[in-house]
């Protein structure tokens, strides 16, 4: 089984490639990346002319998603989440452990991987809980979970509860060579908040979550990462203060990385007022921050302080959102809008180059999680994301592959989209709106 992709622009920051290349795939593995590859005389090679309008990248990896299984299958399952991933251009996702039961043991990890294997779509990398039940008291069995397939540890949805637990988690995960991912939020400062503390929350009578709730926790984690020498990864960073802390820590050589979600670099808290006041699809944690924070995040994406774009894909049933703002669940789905938002808001807006976007969505998450991919290297599995950077896209929540529809971007028109998603040499998603990718359907 050979597949030859011809004529596209290939971007692979890990090997410094950016230009017209052909890619030969054999039995699901990358065999060769080169200029003008001629198919071998023997055996059948399917040749797909992609042409220069498309961009082939190492497969995108969303290192922060919630797949809701086990326990909340009415919101999402591993299979529907993995389908949303490939529809959104992601060849792999890392799923947070706040399921029911919490993924705090190897048996839950193995269950998730079994569901993922049965789905046979995007690769799924489970993230194990830092503490048993994610209740912030005792360390979960991290080594056992690592052996079962976990790629990182987090109590996401909640912060790692105490400085002592974070210290021990970093020390122990450091032994295993895996990062601790922290949802940075000082719960005493955040209180019962539901929106960013500032003028707009005051005007709407909503209880605020101050930026400081995030900032002090990021500062804590930076101190502990420096102390332990282990790797702390800051989830969904949303404030200028937290970014400043990460930037300064990196300059000192502390092993800290961070991710930013598309909604945080696209929207700010002034959206809470209009066009629709109290739209629960604008309720997430961390909340949409001040416009100054959004601008700081964009600058961090540009200057390299931000390592990763991750969606914090948080599917919720309409019943959890069609209620009073105070009572609505936090979070929005992100897998099927992230690529278009990144192309439109970052690349076409002139903030980052396409190669930098590939680093943010593929190279860096692969490096941080130490998972395969993130590069186009002969011998690696052929996980590819193919972009149509100039495609006109209209977001349609009704057409999502995800089980949930909770997005504030429904109806948005954006420039740039996914042409196809190839996992292990198989084209699992081919966008019908991209004629240049049509050949992949037959391959």
């Amino acid at each position: 089984m050979r597949l030859l992709l011809k004529g596209a622009r290939v971007i692979d920051p890990a090997s410094g490639v950016d230009g017209a290349r052909d890619i030969l795939i054999e039995d699901g593995v990358i065999a060769l990346v080169d200029r003008d590859i001629t198919p071998a005389e023997t055996g059948h090679t399917a040749i797909v002319e992609l042409g220069p309008s498309l961009v082939v990248c190492p497969g995108f990896i969303d290192m922060h998603v919630h797949l809701r299984e086990p326990g909340y299958e009415h919101k999402e399952t591993v299979a529907t989440g993995a389908a949303a991933a490939v529809a959104g251009g992601f060849t792999a996702v890392a799923c947070m452990p706040n399921t029911n039961p919490v993924n705090d043991s190897a048996s839950v990890t193995r269950f998730i991987l079994k569901q993922a294997a049965e789905a046979g779509l995007a690769r799924v990398y489970p993230i194990g809980a830092v503490s048993k039940g994610s209740d912030g008291k005792e360390l979960a069995e991290m080594a056992d979970m690592r052996d079962a397939g976990c790629v990182a540890f987090s109590d996401d949805g909640r912060p790692v509860a105490t400085a002592l637990l974070m210290r021990r988690a970093l020390e122990y995960a450091g032994m295993l060579g895996l990062p601790v991912i922290d949802h940075c939020e000082d719960k005493t400062l955040a209180g019962e908040g539901v929106a960013h503390e500032g003028f707009h929350a005051s005007q709407l009578g909503l209880r605020g979550i101050p930026s400081a709730a995030e900032d002090v926790m990021v500062e804590r984690d930076v101190v502990l990462a420096a102390m332990t020498g282990s790797h702390a990864h800051i989830a969904h960073l949303s404030t200028s203060g937290a970014l400043r802390a990460v930037r300064a820590a990196k300059a000192r050589g502390v092993r800290v990385t961070c991710e930013v979600a598309p909604h945080h670099f696209t929207l700010s808290d002034d959206r809470l007022m209009s066009p629709l006041a109290y739209d629960t699809n604008l309720k997430m944690n961390p909340p949409l921050r001040h416009a100054h924070d959004r601008e700081a995040l964009v600058e961090g994406l540009r200057d390299g302080s931000v390592d990763v774009i991750a969606t914090d894909h948080a599917p919720h049933h309409a019943d959890d959102k069609t209620v009073e703002f105070d009572r609505a669940s936090f979070g929005i789905v992100g897998l099927e809008t992230a690529v278009s938002l990144s192309l439109d808001r970052l690349v076409h807006a002139g903030v980052v180059s396409l190669p930098r976007m590939v680093e943010l969505l593929s190279t860096n998450p692969a490096r941080i999680l130490r998972v395969p991919g993130g590069r186009l290297q002969p011998g690696d599995a052929a996980d590819l994301t193919i972009l149509a950077p100039d495609l006109g896209v209209t977001v349609s929540a009704a057409a999502f592959s995800s089980k949930s529809r909770n997005t504030p971007f429904d109806g948005w028109t954006l420039r740039g989209g996914v042409a196809a998603t190839i996992v292990g040499g198989r084209a699992l998603f081919v966008n019908a709106d991209v004629p240049a990718a049509a050949g992949l359907r037959r391959s």
Partner: protein
């Protein structure tokens, strides 16, 4: 100048934030006529005869619910009261389901009080019936703002150019927000005073002067409005003690003397005597606290009439 409004634009009254200055004046002018009705021996007019008004209260209320009910009855509306304890809602139906069930009985207006800010917005998007906000979370209590303005205007003849000091818990107060929106739209100068722990973020962007110095706030004020300290909310340690609160922010006769000689003292109730206000002030000659209650009925009659009354439907048919 704005053209004089002759009707409200929307089917709902969700907050003062949505009203123009001219609509506010319309409500206040209409309330003057309604006040006259309440002074008659037969306190009833047929303005809302055949109209159904549902009072849906998710939070306990004596004053506001009674005031609405009196207003509705004086306008001859058919009224019914539904009080829902929050605890039963937790296991029971959603707000929207409750609203749709009520809507199926074809009411003309739903008057709602609810603990969540924006809940009336949610209801207004769901229901054909007009929604009248009787206090939602920390957002607005528009009829309170209107009755406060009515009371000030009655005593001072105007709102424009007056200095109004609002003192107390601004963070959790829907009365505060409605008053700020209303008074700033009508050209009053609003001073907000309280401990910094009870000031909402970005308070000055709301168009007020904020201070922690009660004497600065009260100095030369035309009206001083005390906000209730919600004792049940004060467990979080927003200030050290009620005793210290009264020392620093309480309205005493000495502080009242800093205001204009003809200043009025207001309180939306229920009062905590000796916490935010001294009894001598609450019961003193400058107090208009009971006038506020009386005016509440007139203002609510005006709003009910403007939302549900009038002959528009008949002429349209």
């Amino acid at each position: 100048m704005n053209d004089k409004a002759v009707r409200l634009r929307g089917k709902d009254l969700l907050g003062i934030a949505d009203l123009t200055a001219s609509e506010i004046s319309l409500v206040l002018d209409t309330a003057e006529a309604m006040k006259e009705v309440s002074a008659r021996p037969i306190k009833k007019v047929p303005a809302l005869r055949g109209k159904t008004v549902i009072n849906l209260f998710y939070e306990p209320s004596t004053r506001t619910r009674t005031s609405f009910e009196v207003a509705e009855k004086r306008l001859s509306a058919d009224t019914l009261n539904i009080a829902i304890a929050t605890s039963s809602v937790v296991k029971g139906e959603t707000l929207i389901d409750t609203a749709l069930n009520l809507e199926a009985m074809n009411p003309d207006l739903i008057v709602m009080r609810h603990a969540s800010s924006g809940s009336c917005h949610l209801l207004a998007r769901t229901c054909k019936a007009g929604i009248l906000n009787a206090g939602d979370g920390m957002l607005e209590h528009p009829t309170q703002g209107l009755l406060d303005a009515f009371t000030i205007r009655e005593r001072k003849g105007r709102l424009h150019g007056l200095k109004v000091a609002i003192i107390g818990d601004m963070l959790h107060s829907r009365v505060f927000r409605s008053n700020v929106y209303l008074l700033t739209k009508m050209g009053a100068e609003v001073w907000a005073c309280g401990p910094p722990t009870l000031m909402p973020a970005g308070i000055e962007q709301l168009g007020v002067r904020a201070t922690t110095d009660v004497e600065e706030a009260v100095k030369d004020a035309d009206a001083v409005m005390m906000l209730r300290i919600q004792l049940e909310r004060m467990q979080g340690g927003f200030f050290p003690s009620l005793r210290e609160y009264f020392q620093v922010f309480g309205m005493t006769p000495e502080r009242v003397r800093l205001a204009k000689p003809d200043a009025i003292i207001m309180h939306p109730g229920p009062m905590n005597r000796g916490v935010e206000i001294a009894s001598e002030v609450a019961d003193g000659p400058a107090s208009v606290i009971l006038d506020q209650v009386a005016n509440g009925v007139a203002v609510r009659m005006a709003v009910l009439y403007l939302l549900a009354g009038g002959g528009d439907d008949e002429t349209a048919a």
